[in-house]
């Protein structure tokens, strides 16, 4: 049916060969693919005359005459076709859809994605699509530079900048800067100069290429491309040091590229450069890079400050992050500063403060949106590279292209080796030759170079098409050959891979301890080194900056505690996701619990008659069943406000309450001879869970702790965490405390009886009590639940 529909659709436009879609392969995935392709081809052909000049990224370049739509003197059209006004969004959506389906398809084919990196496959798809479009007789769309720089590139860079590992980045900053600035300059001049020499030697057609054009070409092609690097390196999982070196270099060389590009472009028409220009170029470089960073930092601080006030409108929190970052990029572009550096600076500056202010859900949203956008952008870029290759005007010249390729490779290797030799004198962790090889091999070129060449005007640069061909060849070579072979080479050379270790609390404690220790030693030696300044910056941050940019109590939270919370939260969610109980993914198969660690208390005089074990069991059972029975859904999900999350907003109160309840708990424990383990963090909880689920159930009976109930049946199960505030309303709390106090002071008589009565009373009290929960639409009471201790500190 679908095929027939498309058939008729296409046949509306005369002059178009009808694609025989019925002869398509029968596999459903391919069918969809063919359909999308067909639609794409079909929509790219008809002429929408009115729209043609207006939309800059129109996918249609072919002048076809059309117009079967309007009819005169007909009865009222029940069903008519009005494609014009949705054309642009329609085509964009089709392209995005194609890109995403491609990505999907690759992972369905079993072994393909492990041999060939995605970027290669996407370029091949682009080639095919471009070929198809050309076959149909149309001009395929080209990767317009404006679209690329304004819409496709920012999401990728923002994603990289927001999640930049700051610690490793700053530790290796010197090395990265050396590679980015000096390395790129070296590459540019080496390639440009040698190419000029080759052009002069070659004679006839090439002799017209002057030095400045060659240098311009050299500077464009020498820049390592962040998109390509990310695409390839993400799949090979090498160790963090190498990753941050190559990736950092690809980000920071943008400033160099921008300056060189503008410098040579400006003066190529004039024909010569003076020393003054060079000097101004250096000043320009400083302005461009530092200016970009400053612009980014300003927007980052603004974003952090804004996020301080978003506690009542959590839903739009992610929007601030995105919009401020994009504005930073655009503002930098207005002044011809380095947009990439602005974006990185913005993301890196705002992240610690924004994350302290926003809700957990917003954090997840930001993460996923960034990943999604950057993924789509990435895919589209590679596909368009393929399509543009088919489309673009080419001028092949064996000498030039081959020379370019060889010089690029040679320049890269020489540059890396030379620079490493110098850098290793200043590094503690020296770069080995294996590292150098990977750094040199990982210098991939990509779409940025292509777009920059595309921006050149043919009037000023008569050899522009040749440049384009050469660049595409280099890009293809680096992405295909180097991209495909880097993975087996990494395995062959046994390069250290990324360690998938989770940070433990011990490591965090000791890392912080080490920081302070090293700062102290530096102070004793009187050496104002790396740690000294880092410590000063931290102190400044803590004293002034955090107070301004972080809302409420979190501004005073030490890093260790923030880390602890984060870890507990993660463990809680993990526990929930794994369904709790039997199969904990990372459960420690140990029976160690708090008892083993706490020094044994000396046996106290028990002036109280002991409870028989059976009695205690009974009490516990009653408490437990009553706890489990009550769950009420209070409010339904409201699009504008998520129900207030007690432990995000009522932070302090909760801490105080928890503290009180802990003390009560302790007192209660004194009465029970069967030692009830005190409420522990989920670390301990997990350990217990793995060993003894029954004990777990018993433990949760202690009603004084706010527990987290998870509704596993709810649609957003892993994220939906309901906080049961056990002592929400004063009623039972004061009663409990009173009884407890009473029990303690009296010390003698039948605390058991009292206890039993009390618990019975309390249970009755509990039922009608409102429990504060964060609710999402609830399909109904669930059969099983997970009780868990609140994942935060007392």
């Amino acid at each position: 049916f679908i095929c027939r529909y498309v058939h008729t659709y296409l046949s509306i436009f005369p002059g178009l060969p009808c694609l025989h879609l019925e002869s398509a392969l029968l596999k459903p995935g391919s069918n969809m693919f063919i359909l999308v392709l067909g639609l794409l081809v079909g929509t790219s052909s008809p002429d929408m005359g009115t729209n043609h000049g207006k939309s800059p990224d129109s996918h249609n370049h072919g002048p076809q005459n059309q117009g079967n739509h309007t009819q005169s003197k007909k009865p009222f059209p029940v069903l008519s076709l009005g494609y014009d006004h949705v054309r642009l969004p329609f085509e964009i959506s089709l392209w995005v859809l194609l890109a995403s389906l491609m990505k999907l398809g690759f992972h369905l084919i079993p072994r393909l994605s492990s041999i060939v990196p995605e970027s290669c496959l996407l370029i091949v798809v682009g080639l095919l699509v471009g070929g198809l479009i050309k076959l149909v007789g149309e001009i395929p769309p080209v990767l317009e530079s404006k679209i690329f720089f304004l819409y496709l590139l920012p999401p990728i860079i923002l994603d990289a900048g927001y999640f930049l590992p700051i610690r490793q980045f700053t530790e290796n900053l010197g090395t990265i800067l050396m590679f980015a600035v000096v390395g790129t300059l070296w590459n540019a001049f080496f390639v440009g100069g040698l190419l000029y020499g080759v052009c002069q030697l070659e004679g006839h057609r090439l002799v017209t290429v002057d030095l400045l054009s060659c240098l311009l070409f050299g500077s464009i092609i020498s820049a390592v491309d962040p998109v390509a690097v990310l695409a390839v390196f993400e799949e090979i999982h090498i160790n963090e040091l190498l990753h941050i070196l190559v990736f950092g270099e690809s980000l920071l060389n943008d400033a160099v590229t921008v300056v060189l590009y503008h410098l040579f472009e400006e003066y190529s028409s004039v024909g010569s450069i003076t020393v003054m220009d060079v000097f101004l170029g250096i000043v320009c470089f400083l302005v461009v890079s530092l200016g970009g960073i400053v612009v980014g930092a300003i927007y980052g601080i603004l974003a952090a400050f804004t996020s301080r006030f978003t506690s009542h409108t959590r839903v739009i929190e992610p929007l601030f992050v995105f919009v401020y970052s994009y504005m930073a990029y655009l503002s930098a572009e207005v002044f011809h500063l380095s947009g990439i550096m602005a974006l990185i600076a913005c993301g890196a500056v705002m992240r610690p403060y924004v994350e302290a202010n926003i809700s957990h859900k917003s954090h997840t949203t930001i993460k996923y949106f960034l990943k999604m956008w950057s993924s789509v952008s990435d895919t589209l870029i590679f596909i368009f590279l393929g399509v543009s290759t088919v489309a673009g005007p080419h001028e092949w010249n064996w000498t030039f292209v081959m020379a370019t390729l060889i010089f690029c490779l040679v320049a890269r290797v020489l540059g890396v080796v030379g620079l490493t030799f110098v850098i290793n004198k200043f590094r503690i962790i020296k770069l080995t030759s294996k590292d150098q090889f990977i750094i040199a091999y990982g210098g991939l070129r990509g779409a940025i170079a292509f777009s920059l060449v595309y921006l050149l005007k043919t009037e000023h640069f008569p050899m522009r098409n040749m440049f384009l061909t050469a660049i595409i060849t280099v890009i293809f070579f680096t992405v295909f050959v180097q991209g495909m072979t880097i993975r087996p080479l990494v395995d062959l050379l046994a390069v250290k891979k990324k360690q998938e270790t989770k940070r433990s609390i011990n490591e965090e404690i000791h890392t912080q301890f080490l920081d302070h220790l090293l700062t102290g030693i530096e102070d004793i030696c009187g050496h104002y080194g790396h740690h000294h300044w880092k410590d000063k910056l931290n102190r400044f941050n803590k004293k002034y900056v955090k107070k301004c940019l972080i809302a409420g109590e979190r501004s005073k939270e030490p890093q260790l505690i923030a880390f602890y919370h984060k870890m507990e939260m993660k463990q809680a969610i993990e526990l929930v996701e794994s369904g709790g109980g039997a199969k904990l993914p990372s459960a420690l198969p140990s029976t160690v619990s708090m008892q083993n660690i706490q020094p044994k208390k000396p046996p106290q005089d028990r002036a109280l008659p002991q409870l028989s074990k059976a009695r205690e069991e009974e009490i516990r059972k009653i408490l437990r069943t009553n706890l489990q029975r009550t769950r009420q859904r209070l409010r339904s999900y409201n699009r504008h406000t998520l129900v207030a999350d007690p432990y995000e907003d009522g932070w302090n109160e909760l801490l105080i309450k928890r503290k009180k309840m802990m003390e009560l708990e302790k007192k209660m424990n004194n009465y029970l001879t069967v030692p009830a383990p005190p409420p522990d963090s989920p670390t301990i909880a997990r350990a217990r869970l793995a060993s003894d689920p029954q004990a777990w159930g018993l433990k949760s009976v202690t009603e004084s702790i706010p527990t987290i109930k998870v509704d596993l049946a709810s649609p957003q199960s892993p994220e939906s965490v309901n906080v049961v505030d056990e002592f929400g309303k004063k009623g039972s709390q004061s009663k409990a405390s009173k009884e407890e106090e009473g029990g303690l002071t009296m010390k003698v008589p039948s605390p058991t009886k009292q206890r039993k009565d009390k618990t019975a009373d309390e249970d009755n009290d509990k039922e009608p009590q409102q429990r504060l929960m964060r609710c999402l639409s609830d399909p109904g009471p669930t059969a099983e639940e997970e009780d868990e201790d609140e994942a935060f500190l007392p």
Partner: protein, 203 residues
């Protein structure tokens, strides 16, 4: 005692200058001299750092105890724990370097010198780390150190019956839990490599 020939004469000279500056031209260094360093006053773990300089265990001797004052030789000995390893160090030797540095850290935590870090000692470590934040109570430090201790026990010992008591972290266990933190590369002071002109000796 300084086993490495890489330590240049000039670096020793600079350190000696610093030593004399700290002791105000006396022969031996005492605790008060170190406490007078103004920058150190802001450091949350300054007491432990100062103690480390007077700890006999760090001087390579088998005995335990504290010295009251140290000479220049001991000063440099302690500082040599922060020497970066040579670039082409064999794996075996790297392990030794790591062990030495971890031993230094361990000694800093083990204040009663019994070879085990007990829960109390660990708690004190965490409390000191958090001491610069006034709003954090002792309960919090306790919770963190409890969780950390439990983790150590779970990872190193594994199975324990409900009645067994976990004494504390031994040195082997300490090495085990910190094996992923690359101590040999992190616990270094740059100045052993850099031009000593950057040291503010005597200023």
């Amino acid at each position: 005692k300084l086993r490495s020939p890489r330590v240049s004469i000039e670096q020793i000279k600079n350190l000696h200058n610093r030593f004399t500056y700290l002791t105000q031209d006396e022969d031996t260094l005492r605790r008060e001299h170190l406490e007078n360093i103004s920058n150190l006053a802001l450091n949350p773990i300054r007491r432990q750092i100062i103690e480390a300089f007077f700890d006999k265990r760090n001087m390579g001797e088998k005995e335990k105890g504290c010295l009251q004052e140290i000479g220049f030789e001991e000063f440099v000995t302690v500082l040599s724990f922060f020497r970066p390893p040579k670039p082409r160090t064999a794996d075996e030797e790297m392990k030794n370097v790591k062990k030495e540095k971890l031993r230094f850290l361990f000694n800093m935590h083990d204040t009663d010198k019994d070879g085990i870090i007990t829960l109390d000692e660990y708690r004190r470590v965490v409390e000191e780390l958090l001491s610069s934040y006034e709003t954090i109570g002792a309960e919090t430090a306790k919770a963190i150190s409890d969780a950390a201790m439990l983790e150590v026990a779970s990872v190193t010992v594994g199975q324990m019956g409900p009645d067994e008591f976990y004494e504390g972290i031994t040195f082997e266990q300490f090495m085990q839990i910190l094996k992923d933190v690359e101590i040999e590369t992190k616990m270094n002071i740059h100045f052993w490599n850099l031009d000593t002109r950057t040291m503010q000796c005597g200023k």
